[in-house]
C-alpha cells in the first residue's frame, strides 16, 4: 500500500493538517501536499478510469505531465472537471471526485470494454460505425455520447473572476528550476528587465530532489541562496504558480497564473492571463521522464522513477513497501537509492542495458545491497487495481519468464525528453540526439522574431543538457548570449556556478520491453495512458498505411488527450518508426501547439463576460428609455429602443400605436446614434463630390441634401443628409452603423490617395444628442418651447439653422425620414436628457409619444424610402433602387462611378426596386423570394425577385413591402408569387414603392 512515511517530505508543513474529501470520503493531508501526494498518503492509488477501456488507473507522474490522475474539483459555481491531481495543491475543504466511471470508481460497468479490446483497435470508430448507416444516428451516436468525454461539463455559471495583464520585459525566462534561476540571475546582472515564470509553487525544479553540490553547497541550499539573490534584484520579477503556456509570433508569450486555486477563500481573480511581450525568451522548461513500454505498464503502482523519488523526498510518501526499479539509464538509480535511504525495500533494479563496467550510481546501489540485474526487463506486471509483482525476462528475448518478483510498486525510466514545446510553438526546429535518444532544440533553427532573428533560446535540460554542471553552464551561457544580443553587457566578474560532476553511464534506447515482445504482450503495453493507445495500435496503424506521423496520431488518437502526449509522444514515434523500419528523425514529430498544459477558458476571456462581454453604446437618453418601457434592439454596438411598451401592451401593439400616433399627433425619436462628421477645408467640396454620388460642392450654406455613398465596387455603402455649414465646412450625417466606418473611409482616401488635398475631418457623432420631432404637431411643440422661428417660411424643407429652443442652444434641421412635418434637433449631449424632458413636457397636450426603430422603419417604408442594410446588402447599386436622380451626371468621377459602368452593373436585367402589396393584405415574409417560370440547371424554380423590407402598416391596415424584382418597374400591376417557409404561397402585386402621401403634402406644411 502507499502510505505517509514518518520522516521526510521537504515541502510539507506537518504542523498544518489539511482536511479534504475524495469521492465523499474524508481524508487528511498537510499543507504543501498536492492532491496526488495526499491521496497516495491515504492509500488512494486508484484515481480514475481510462478513456476507452475504463481500465483502473493510478497516478504515474508527479507534475504537469500526469495523464491519469484527473478529477472533478469543487461544486456548483466552482465546479471544474479534468483537473490534474499532481498540479492541484490541497486546501482545507477541497472536494474531489473521480471521473469516467459508472457506477463507481471501484466497480465500473464500462470496464467491460477491456474485454472487448480486440474489437476496439485503432480507428475502430471509423470501421465499426460505418454500417448500417441509419444505426449511426439511432444506436451508435447516443451510446458514444453517453460514454464520451472525461469529466462532466459544469452546469452552473462560474462564480470566479479572471483577468488579463499586459507585461513587457527584455528577457522572459520560462521555468524556475536551476537552469531558469541561473539564466534569470545572469540576465538580471546585465541590467536587463527580466521576468521569470515557474508553473509550480516551488523554485529549483528537480535539483533539490536529485541532489548534487553546486559551488560547494548542497543543491537545495544553492537554490535557496539563488532565489534570495534574485528577490533582491529590482530588475528581476519572479512569478510562481505561473506557467508559460504558449510562445507566439514576435516575442508574444502567454503566462497562466493561478491565484486562488490553492486558496479559494482569497479575494480577487482566480486566474490571470499574462500577455507578455519579451525581447527574448529563454525556455528553461526542463525535461520529462519517459515511461517504458512493457506489458501491464498501466497498472496502478507503475510509476515514473523520478515521480516515485519526488513523492518520497518532497512529500514523505511511499508508493509501496517493495519497489522494483526498471530502467535504461543511470538516473533511475537515484530512485532506488532514495527509497533505500527512506527505509523501503528495493528487491531489484532491472536494467535493460549491458555495460562493460559499473558506473558510480550502480556501485552506490549495489553498496546499499540492492540486486542489480543487467540486461533484464519486465515481461509483464501482475495485478489488477494494484501491482502485485513482476515477471522478469531478458531484454534481448521474447519475454520468457525467468523469475517472478513480488512487489507493490514499479519505478520505470525510459530516459528523458527535453520539454521542447515552447521552443517549437512558434516554429523552432528539433534535432535528434542519438546519444540520449531524444529530440532537442536545433539551435540553428530558432523561431524568428520581428527583426528576423531568433527570439527563443533553450537552457539547461530543455536544451538536452542533463547533468547538473552542464545545466548550469548552459543556462549561464544562454543568458549571456541573449543579453549580449539585446545590447546589454555582463559585468566581468560574473561566471557560471560550478557543480560537482556525477559521471553516468550512457543510456540505451529501449522502445519495447522485451525487445521481441510477442503480440500478446504488445496488446497490454500502453503508450498513451489517457487515450488507451497501445503498441499494437500504432503497429496496426502503420500496417494499414498511416505512415505519416500526423495521420498515425489521428488514427490512433495517440497524444490527443488532455496531456497532449507529454509521456507518450516519443515512445509512440519510436514504435511507429520501428513498425515502418525507419529511423526516428525521419518519422519526425507531430506539431507542438499551445497551450503547454490546459488553461481555463475563462482566463482566455479575461474580464470580457457578463456586462462587459462586449461594449454596449448608450445614448444620453438611454436611462430614460429603459425606465419608460423601451424594448431595445442592437444596432452595431448601440442599443436603440425598438418600441416603448406601455403597461401590458404587446410589442406589436406598441409599434402600431407609435406608427399611428406619429402620423396623427407627434412622436419623438432618439436619433443620437446617427453619425455626424465635420468635413472642412479648401478642398472639402471637391472631396465630398468624390465621396458622394451626387453633387455636394454646390450645396448652399444653410441647406441640406440627401446623399449616397458607394464603394469603389459601385455598391451602396451609406446614405444620409449633408448640411453645408459655411464656405468650406460641411456636416455629413451617416447611418447609425456607419459613423466609424465612414469616418475611417474618409480618412483612408484623404491619407492614402488625395493626401495633397486640404481637407480635415472630425467625427463629432457623440458630441450631440439628436432628437427627431415628427408629426403634424411637431412645429407647435417647438413653438411652445419658444425661441428660434421654425415656421414654414423661416425654416424651409431641407434647411437648417443654429438657434435656441426652450433655452437650449441647438442646431435645427428640417428634414424628414417619415414624410411628416419633421425636425431633427441636435443639442450638446450633456443636455440631451434635459432637452428630451422639455420636449415631452411641451408635447404633453399635443399627443407626444416616443417611438422606436420599428416605427421609424414602418414610417419610412410607407414612404418608399430605402434603408441601408435592408434594401442594400453589399451587392446593390443606386441604379437598382431607382436612385438615378442622386447620381450626378455632371461629375467626371466619384467613388463607384467606374464600377457602375461595368457590364454586369449596367445589365438591364438587374433586379430593381418596386413596392409589393399582397392581394389579401397579409404581410410578406422577410427575405422571401419570388419564383418565375421554368427551372434552373439544378432543377430549382427560377427566382425573379426578393423581399427587402416588409411590415404591417397600421396606417394603411395591410402589409406593405419593398423588393427587388426582375424588370420590376416595367411590370407594375402584375401579381407574382412568393412561396413562404410556412407552406403558404403569397401573391403580391407589383406597385409603386410610395404607399403613403404620394404627393408629399404632409411634410410640406
Amino acid at each position: 500500500m502507499s502510505t505517509r512515511l514518518a520522516t521526510g517530505g521537504r515541502l510539507l508543513n506537518t504542523d498544518k493538517p489539511v482536511n479534504f474529501a475524495f469521492n465523499g470520503k474524508q481524508m487528511r493531508g498537510y499543507e504543501g501536499d498536492t492532491l496526488a501526494s495526499a491521496l497516495l498518503a491515504n492509500d488512494q492509488m486508484l484515481m480514475g478510469r481510462s478513456f476507452k477501456y475504463h481500465r483502473p488507473r493510478g497516478v504515474v507522474a508527479s507534475g504537469a505531465e500526469e495523464p491519469n490522475g484527473l478529477v472533478n474539483l469543487g461544486s456548483e459555481g466552482k465546479f471544474e472537471p479534468n483537473q490534474r491531481v499532481t498540479t492541484t495543491e490541497i486546501f482545507e475543504g477541497l472536494e474531489a471526485t473521480s471521473q469516467n466511471h459508472w457506477p463507481s470508481l471501484e466497480f465500473d460497468v464500462g470496464a467491460i470494454n477491456k474485454h472487448l479490446s480486440r474489437f476496439l483497435p485503432a480507428g475502430f470508430y471509423y470501421k465499426m460505425f460505418m454500417y448500417p448507416r441509419a444505426a449511426w444516428k439511432h444506436v451508435y451516436e447516443p451510446i458514444i455520447r453517453h460514454s464520451a468525454g472525461l469529466g462532466k461539463a459544469p452546469k452552473t455559471t462560474d462564480v470566479d473572476t479572471y483577468e488579463h495583464f499586459y507585461a513587457f520585459c527584455d528577457v522572459l525566462v520560462v521555468g524556475g528550476g536551476v537552469a531558469g534561476l541561473e539564466a534569470a540571475r545572469t540576465a538580471g546582472r546585465s541590467g536587463a528587465k527580466v521576468l521569470l515564470l515557474e508553473q509550480t509553487e516551488h523554485w529549483g525544479g528537480r535539483a533539490p530532489v536529485d541532489g548534487g553540490t553546486v559551488d560547494g553547497k548542497p543543491a537545495a541550499e544553492f537554490v535557496d541562496d539563488l532565489v534570495a539573490e534574485l528577490q533582491g534584484m529590482d530588475n528581476v520579477q519572479m512569478r510562481s504558480r505561473t506557467m508559460g503556456a504558449g510562445v507566439y509570433d514576435h516575442g508574444y508569450v502567454l503566462g497562466y497564473e493561478r491565484l486562488t486555486d490553492h486558496a479559494p477563500q482569497k479575494s480577487g481573480p482566480r486566474h490571470r492571463l499574462w500577455r507578455i511581450r519579451a525581447g527574448h525568451v529563454i525556455t528553461a522548461t526542463g525535461a520529462i521522464e519517459r515511461p517504458l513500454s512493457f506489458a501491464g505498464n498501466d497498472i496502478p503502482g507503475v510509476m515514473l522513477a523520478a515521480a516515485v523519488r519526488d513523492y518520497v523526498v518532497n512529500w514523505g510518501v511511499s508508493i509501496g513497501d517493495r519497489t522494483v526499479v526498471v530502467t535504461n539509464n543511470d538516473n533511475a538509480y537515484l530512485t532506488a537509492i532514495a527509497l533505500k535511504h527512506a527505509g523501503l525495500d528495493v528487491p531489484a533494479i532491472l536494467d535493460a542495458r549491458v555495460l562493460p563496467q559499473d558506473s558510480m550510481l550502480m556501485e552506490q546501489a549495489k553498496a546499499l545491497g540492492i540486486r542489480v540485474m543487467m540486461g533484464h526487463a519486465i515481461a509483464s506486471v501482475k495485478g489488477g487495481k494494484r501491482v502485485t509483482g513482476v515477471t522478469v525476462c531478458s531484454q534481448a528475448g521474447e519475454g520468457a519468464a525467468l523469475e517472478e518478483i513480488a512487489c507493490d510498486a514499479v519505478a520505470m525510466s525510459g530516459g528523458w525528453s527535453p520539454v521542447v514545446h515552447l521552443w517549437s510553438h512558434c516554429g523552432g526546429k528539433l534535432r535528434w540526439d542519438t546519444a540520449q535518444a531524444c529530440f532537442s532544440p536545433d539551435l540553428d533553427n530558432a523561431p524568428k522574431g520581428a527583426d528576423g532573428m531568433g527570439f527563443v533560446t533553450p537552457a539547461g535540460a530543455a536544451s538536452g543538457m542533463f547533468p547538473l554542471d552542464d545545466v548550469l553552464c548552459d543556462a549561464h551561457a544562454a543568458a549571456d548570449g541573449v543579453v549580449t544580443s539585446l545590447g546589454f553587457k555582463l559585468p566581468k566578474d560574473v561566471t557560471a556556478p560550478s557543480a560537482e560532476r556525477r559521471e553516468e553511464a550512457p543510456m540505451a534506447p529501449v522502445w519495447l520491453m522485451p525487445q521481441g515482445a510477442s503480440v500478446k504482450l504488445r496488446e497490454k503495453t500502453w503508450l498513451d495512458y489517457q487515450n488507451d493507445v497501445k503498441v499494437s495500435d500504432v503497429r496496426l496503424a502503420a500496417q494499414e498505411g498511416f505512415v505519416s506521423v500526423e495521420h498515425a496520431k489521428r488514427y490512433t488518437t495517440l497524444g490527443m488527450a488532455t496531456d497532449q502526449g507529454k509521456l507518450s509522444n516519443i515512445n509512440g514515434l519510436a514504435t511507429l518508426a520501428g513498425a515502418l523500419d525507419a529511423d526516428i528523425p525521419t518519422v519526425g514529430t507531430t506539431t507542438f501547439r499551445p497551450p503547454y498544459h490546459p488553461i481555463s477558458m475563462a482566463s482566455i476571456g479575461g474580464e470580457a463576460r457578463g456586462p462587459v462581454f462586449q461594449p454596449i453604446r448608450r445614448t444620453p437618453m438611454h436611462d430614460w428609455h429603459e425606465a419608460n418601457g423601451a424594448e431595445f434592439e442592437p444596432v452595431g454596438q448601440w442599443r436603440r429602443p425598438y418600441a416603448f411598451k406601455r403597461g401590458s401592451e404587446s410589442t406589436h401593439d406598441a409599434v402600431n400605436r407609435e406608427v399611428k400616433n406619429t402620423r396623427t399627433n407627434m412622436g419623438l425619436l432618439d436619433a443620437s446614434t446617427l453619425g455626424k462628421i465635420i468635413v472642412k477645408g479648401p478642398d472639402a467640396g471637391k472631396f465630398l463630390d468624390m465621396l458622394y454620388t451626387n453633387m455636394m460642392s454646390t450645396l448652399k450654406p444653410g441647406k441640406c441634401r440627401y446623399g449616397l455613398m458607394c464603394s469603389e465596387n459601385g455598391f451602396l455603402i451609406d446614405d444620409g443628409v449633408v448640411a453645408r455649414v459655411d464656405e468650406d465646412t460641411w456636416l455629413c450625417h451617416t447611418t447609425t452603423g456607419g459613423a466609424e466606418t465612414i469616418h475611417g473611409h474618409m480618412e483612408e482616401w484623404l491619407q492614402t490617395e488625395w493626401w495633397d488635398w486640404d481637407v480635415y475631418v472630425a467625427n463629432v457623432t457623440e458630441q450631440y444628442a439628436q432628437v427627431a420631432v415628427v408629426g403634424p404637431n411637431a412645429r407647435k411643440c417647438l413653438e411652445k418651447l419658444g425661441g428660434t422661428d421654425v415656421s414654414k417660411d423661416a425654416l424651409g424643407f431641407m434647411e437648417w439653422v443654429d438657434g435656441e429652443l426652450g433655452g437650449f442652444k441647438c442646431r435645427i434641421y428640417r428634414i424628414s425620414f417619415s414624410g411628416e412635418l419633421s425636425y431633427e434637433i441636435a443639442v450638446d449631449a450633456s443636455h440631451g436628457q434635459a432637452f428630451w424632458d422639455a420636449l415631452m413636457v411641451a408635447g404633453n397636450d399635443l399627443g407626444v409619444m416616443p417611438y422606436g426603430t420599428e416605427c421609424l422603419h414602418i414610417l419610412r417604408a410607407e414612404k418608399g424610402f430605402i434603408m441601408i442594410g435592408d434594401e442594400t446588402d453589399g451587392t446593390v447599386i443606386p441604379q437598382d433602387l431607382g436612385l438615378h436622380w442622386a447620381l450626378s451626371k455632371k461629375k467626371e468621377d466619384y467613388l463607384g462611378k467606374r464600377a457602375q459602368e461595368r457590364s454586369h452593373m449596367a445589365d438591364p436585367t438587374r433586379w430593381k426596386l418596386v413596392g409589393l402589396e399582397t392581394t389579401d393584405g397579409s404581410t410578406l415574409p422577410d427575405g422571401a423570394y419570388a419564383v418565375g417560370e421554368g427551372t434552373n440547371a439544378n432543377g430549382q424554380r427560377n427566382m425573379i425577385g426578393r423581399v427587402t423590407s416588409t411590415y404591417h402598416s397600421a396606417n394603411l391596415d395591410r402589409g406593405i413591402a419593398m423588393g427587388l424584382v426582375l424588370n420590376g418597374p416595367d411590370r407594375m400591376g402584375e401579381v407574382i408569387d412568393f412561396p413562404g417557409t410556412d407552406g403558404k404561397t403569397y401573391h403580391a402585386r407589383i406597385v409603386d414603392p410610395v404607399f403613403y402621401d404620394k404627393e408629399g403634402e404632409k411634410q410640406n406644411v
Binding site: D249, K448, A450, E712, E748, T752, E892, R898
Partner: protein, 109 residues
C-alpha cells in the same frame, strides 16, 4: 500576433492596435479606364510568399495610415514607412536587399 511600429506617431505596439488593409501601392483607375485596368485595380492582388508591401492603419492609436514591408512567411518586418508614397522608397528597397539579397519585386522570396 505581430508587433508593428507606426512611423507617424512612433508607437511600437501589438497588432490589436492596428488594422491591416491589404496590398500597398495600388494605382487607382477611374472613369475612362479600360475594363482590364479597372479589373486589375479592383480585384487583382499580389499574394507573395515572401516580401510584401502592405497598408495598415493605426486605428486604436493616432489613426494614421502607413505602409509596412514584411515577409509573409517568416513574418519578419523590414520596416514601416509613409502611406504618402506611390511605390516603396529606395531606402526601403535597400533595407530589403540587405536582408534578402537578390530579391526583386514579383519574384516572391
Amino acid at each position: 500576433m505581430l508587433i508593428l511600429t507606426c512611423p507617424v506617431c512612433g508607437v511600437t505596439a501589438e497588432e490589436t492596435e492596428f488594422h491591416a488593409a491589404g496590398e500597398a501601392h495600388l494605382k487607382r483607375f477611374g472613369p475612362g479606364s479600360t475594363d482590364d485596368e479597372f479589373e486589375s485595380y479592383l480585384f487583382m492582388r499580389a499574394n507573395p510568399k515572401g516580401v510584401h508591401f502592405e497598408r495598415w492603419r493605426h486605428n486604436n492609436g493616432c489613426g494614421k495610415w502607413f505602409h509596412v514591408a514584411r515577409d509573409t512567411t517568416t513574418l519578419e518586418v523590414f520596416t514601416s514607412y509613409s502611406a504618402q508614397t506611390v511605390s516603396p522608397p529606395q531606402e526601403v528597397l535597400d533595407l530589403i536587399e540587405d536582408r534578402r539579397p537578390g530579391w526583386s519585386k514579383g519574384s516572391g522570396a
